[in-house]
């Protein structure tokens, strides 16, 4: 048996859930697939999930903490007899899946790009060494693995609907959430965008990001930022690209006034095409750029917005 932990927003399944279902189907030789929806309003979300899977458990445990999620996933794995648990990768899931793997005495394959099975093992491919090395890992069942977002085609609904079953979970001791500081999300989501426009410290001021936003909206792109920029308070932390922020892999990554430290490269070096604009010809970003302009961003950016607008017209 295979268990898929289905990411959702309290209303609907997230894209990641459909990627995780696809990953489970790819190793379908290991047995039937069950799903679990953990959190709030799980019955309704589980109904949607039942279009894809024969059995979906609904674990109504309230808002997120890693302890609750690990316990609920463990209960679902026990109930379904799953030897493999699949989830989508993100900070939160990579926290609770580690707890889950320990509970199951399972091998853990984190943030995999692809996965397969030989019947006894799961073989996963992932990045390591700050995204610089591609490695193939193998673990004997039981296995817990997370799928890196945007690596797998979305699952199609099954020919017949499955059943939803409520799952009782005894809640473990956990953290008490005092305050959620959610950041206003606008525009395209960074990890799902096909084009990303990132601004660095070299832009000089938070106001200069108006140009970054304009170029991004012209290209249907998401806005990214470097660590220095979010540390300075110019942009929210949710826009940070890099080792301690988000990892992105768009078709086009435009780095404006970004020097390109290794920690930043760890978050974007797998982009299909990289464009760099920087006044310093020696900036490390140019070494990994497909197209580079050595020049003053304050002059190049407005010209770039103009040229992009003309193209889109």
């Amino acid at each position: 048996m295979i268990l898929v932990v289905l990411e959702h927003d309290g209303q609907r399944l997230r894209k990641g859930a459909l990627e995780a279902i696809s990953r489970a189907r790819q190793i379908g030789a290991l047995g039937a697939i069950a799903g679990v929806v953990i959190g709030e309003n799980t019955q309704a979300v589980a109904q949607e999930a039942a279009q894809y899977l024969p059995t979906v458990y609904a674990a109504e445990v309230g808002s997120y903490t890693p302890e609750k999620w690990a316990e609920a996933a463990y209960a679902a794995a026990q109930k379904s007899g799953a030897k493999v648990v699949v989830a989508t990768g993100g900070r939160q899931s990579r926290t609770w899946t580690a707890r889950l793997a320990y509970k199951m005495k399972a091998g853990l394959l984190e943030d995999t790009l692809e996965t397969s099975t030989d019947g006894q093992h799961i073989i996963g491919v992932r990045y390591s060494f700050l995204n610089r090395v591609t490695e193939k890992q193998k673990a004997a069942l039981p296995v817990v693995f997370t799928a890196k977002p945007n690596t797998t085609p979305l699952a199609e609904p099954a020919s017949s609907s499955g059943v939803v079953e409520a799952l009782e979970v005894s809640l473990p001791p956990t953290v008490e959430v005092l305050e959620r500081l959610s950041e206003q999300k606008k525009g395209v989501s960074l990890t799902e965008a096909t084009v990303v426009v990132t601004g660095g410290r070299g832009l000089g001021s938070p106001e200069a990001f108006a140009g970054v936003e304009e170029l991004a909206s012209t290209l249907g792109a998401a806005v990214g930022a470097t660590r220095a920029v979010v540390d300075a308070g110019w942009r929210p932390y949710s826009e940070q690209v890099g080792q301690t922020g988000k990892t992105v892999q768009p078709n086009l990554y435009i780095a404006l006034a970004v020097s390109g430290a290794v920690q930043h490269q760890a978050g974007m070096n797998k982009s299909k095409y990289i464009v760099a604009v920087n006044k310093d010809a020696e900036a490390p970003i140019f070494k990994i750029a497909d197209y580079g302009i050595v020049g003053d961003v304050h002059q190049v950016l407005p010209a770039l917005i103009d040229a992009a607008k003309k193209l889109k017209d």
Partner: protein, 248 residues
Amino acid sequence: MKFVAVIRQVPDGESRLKIEGGKVDLGGVTMILDQMDEWAVEEVIRLQEKHGGESVVVALGPERFEEAIRTALAMGIDRAIHLVAEGYLDPISQAEALAEVIRAEAPTLVFTGGQQADWDSQALGPALAEALSWPVVSWTTQIELEGETQARAKHDLDEGAEVVRVALPAVFTSQQGLNEPRYPTLPGIMKAKRKELKKVPVSASSKVEILEQTIQEKSRLNKMIDGKDPVAAAHELVRLLHEEAKVI
């Protein structure tokens, strides 16, 4: 109170990696205390400075880790325990081995890095928490003790952040912004040489095997456009992205 940091030694991010026989060869590479673990070490020292008690580092890894352990001692940690194990050991198996030692130490809390700069793993902290049956707070940017039995912490989520109250003992993992680590001073380095460093051999088998590692650096076009005329350069760039790369 007793504060523990779990640390590892990793290649310096700036150093060039090479592959030998299908695996990363670390020969000749500069090895450092993992930057995210360094934040954990700094936070543990600050907690000790504020609340008193003892600070300890625990590391699991090959002999070469000693250098990173000495760095932590030179920063101000009181003593160290080095679980010596050569070869790759996955984070779940590491947590199991580390939990035994940490349980015996009975600390107030444990701090470790949010993500490892070699395995790109985020699992050690939460797996360790599970092994100890403690709660975990990952990607911590702020922590304050409320007496000896609970703490208030701010940490990052997938989107945004939250403030939590957590019963101690607990495991915390670090995020950038937590603190600015101090540099070891010369007297600190001298003192570190005399501090207790207990070595314990460990034999454990890994649940995960690394079959092959490769460096697939995408070959980049490296086309440079002269930026002296910004308008012409911008138009040329947009043309190339549209006609050649076909990405806009």
